[in-house]
């Protein structure tokens, strides 16, 4: 029997956008206004308004090529928006780089996994901890006490992140040698190590079997509860999306065709037409 997760009820902000009720008293972590990007003549994303609550688990769904990954690339400044604005925790990210946006609190995983394959599992997370470590180049090369202290603390923290995903026994293996599902989990651990306030997951369950997916759902909810962060995830597995997402945004041809709770999305005729189909409705 699939596990039931507690999902927050959506409630309107003064601006009428919906976020989970428990986040109403806190300012939203993300606000996109009329966001858009063109690739030549193609409007890959157009007129996207998206608001995410402080501790919300939100879903971004839609058919292949709808522009979901492009939204992540806009949020993380891999691409600069052609139109519109992105407010992260109230601060406009215009003119910021990928690196700066990460330091401001956005971390992500990739649809096509991007691990440091030739480095150990532990090193992958240590790289994620880069900006929370402080030792200087001189202390690293001269092996000053601050190096050892820094390194010890970082390794302990890295092991904690690995244990969140049951990867601690693989710490010394090469990241590239892990099975597919474990690589996806390691990517989340690495992203989490950068201490984000908004975690973007691009198809985290792709290639996972049902039991791995069930475990992933628990992990995502647990991460949100433990770290009190927001999660925005792209996923085609409707059990996962409908099971843990509180707010859902549906894209088609770069445009938002529906927004709302899983219950609302499931019954939305435009979504059924463009994406879910009859079968999808039956499943979900």
């Amino acid at each position: 029997m699939p596990k039931e997760f507690k999902r927050g009820k959506l409630a309107p902000l003064p601006s009428n956008v919906l976020i989970p009720e428990r986040d109403l008293d806190k300012s939203p972590i993300l606000e996109c206004r009329r966001l858009g990007i063109d690739f030549g003549g193609l409007r890959a994303v157009d007129d996207l308004d998206l608001t995410i609550g402080r501790t919300e688990i939100a879903g971004l769904i839609g058919p292949n090529g709808a522009g979901k990954t492009t939204v992540f690339n806009l949020l993380t400044k891999v691409y600069n928006p052609t139109r519109g604005s992105i407010l992260l925790d109230g601060t406009d990210t215009a003119g910021k780089t990928t690196v700066q946006v990460n330091r401001m609190g956005i971390a992500r995983t990739f649809q096509n996994i991007r691990l440091f394959h030739n480095q150990s599992v532990l090193d992958n997370v240590l790289i994620g901890l880069h900006n929370s470590m402080t030792c200087s180049l001189a202390s690293s090369i001269l092996r000053l006490p601050s190096y050892w202290k820094n390194e010890k603390i970082a390794r302990e923290r890295a092991m904690e992140y690995l244990s969140l995903f049951g990867l601690e026994s693989h710490a010394n293996e090469l990241a590239g040698s892990l099975p597919y599902g474990a690589q996806r989990r390691l990517e989340i651990a690495r992203a989490l190590a950068t201490n984000p306030s908004l975690l973007l997951l691009d198809e985290p369950a792709a290639g996972m079997n049902p039991s791995e997916t069930a475990e992933l759902m628990e992990n995502i909810v647990r991460i949100r509860d433990t770290f009190q962060i927001a999660v925005l995830l792209i996923e085609h597995d409707m059990n996962l999306v409908m099971g843990i997402c509180e707010g859902i945004c549906v894209l088609n041809f770069g445009k938002v065709i529906a927004k709302g709770s899983p219950e609302q999305i499931r019954e939305n005729p435009a979504v059924i037409e463009a994406y879910l189909g009859r079968k999808g409705v039956a499943e979900a």
């Binding site: 690196v99 691990l115 440091f116 150990s120 690293s140 001269l142 010394n172 090469l174 950068t194």
Partner: protein, 348 residues
Amino acid sequence: MMNRNKNFGRNLLTFAVVIAAYAILQPMVLAGSVSATLKGMLVPICAYVAMALSLNLTVGVLGELSLGHAGFMSVGAFAGATTAIALQQAVASAPLRLAIALAVAAVFAALVGFLIGIPVLRLNGDYLAIVTLAFGEIIKSIFNNLYLGLDDRGFHVSLLEDRTGLAEEGRMIIAGPMGIGNIPKIASFTGGFILILLCLAVIFNLVNSRQGRAVMAIRDNRIAAESVGIPVTKYKMMAFVISAAMAGAAGALFSLNYSTVVANKFDFNTSILILVFVVFGGLGNMLGSVIAAAALTILPEALRSFSNYRMLIYAIVLILVMLATNNPTLKMLIGRTIPKRKGAAESA
């Protein structure tokens, strides 16, 4: 276990090999039981080993192909020899003067590395290789046209022709295409040995640190590295400048082993020669670089009749490197045959 690096064993082995080689050769040198040819080659071997380690930091650890590494060697050779000449009276102790000359050379080369790095590190792959190649040639041209004299009023510099206007008792140090003459031959095998140990320590400590992991993250997946907040240009620059500094020190050691040094010694062929050491030794494999540089420096002397083929081998290796950096299948193949610095089996 926690504080030990996963490549602890291999690093230890590398140090052991270098120390053993010194421990065997140095008493033989002192006892006079090495041939004159080998004795004369000890310092150049040390310089080439340090060069190979330096280039391996750029190519193997940072993952950028530099074809102008002799340029940094050249900067170091000229800066080091100039320093040694200028301090001839002021510093009596030859080992101390050698140490100062190497340090000054490293600083100058690092500075040049930084300046070159600003435009070069924005480029990727083949473009970077081509620009570093041009850099090597430019450095050569500059030193071929540089005149530097020293008298009691200080240093005098001019370009293209000698307009230094030295005082009578002044000394011409760099004389354009004639290079530097009357260099005090203060380089020693022990000095070279210490330089190699220092290079190894710096590289190993860097690789197993926050900074080194950032450098390798950029090499392995630039987009992922940026996504976790690693500033790409800063860490590329860091590795490149450290590599340049090592090459500078190696160049100074090299020049202080001969009575004269000319800019043409540090040409494209020298850059490629060092790249050959690195590729033969294995990208990222420091022990391999040490052995390849030493063996391939001795070999042409040992087999003089074969030295004609050297250029042919360079050409083939260079083409293979180009292919390997562009061809995923070949890359994988090479990755499998060359011992990886991050071998899983090495976990200490």
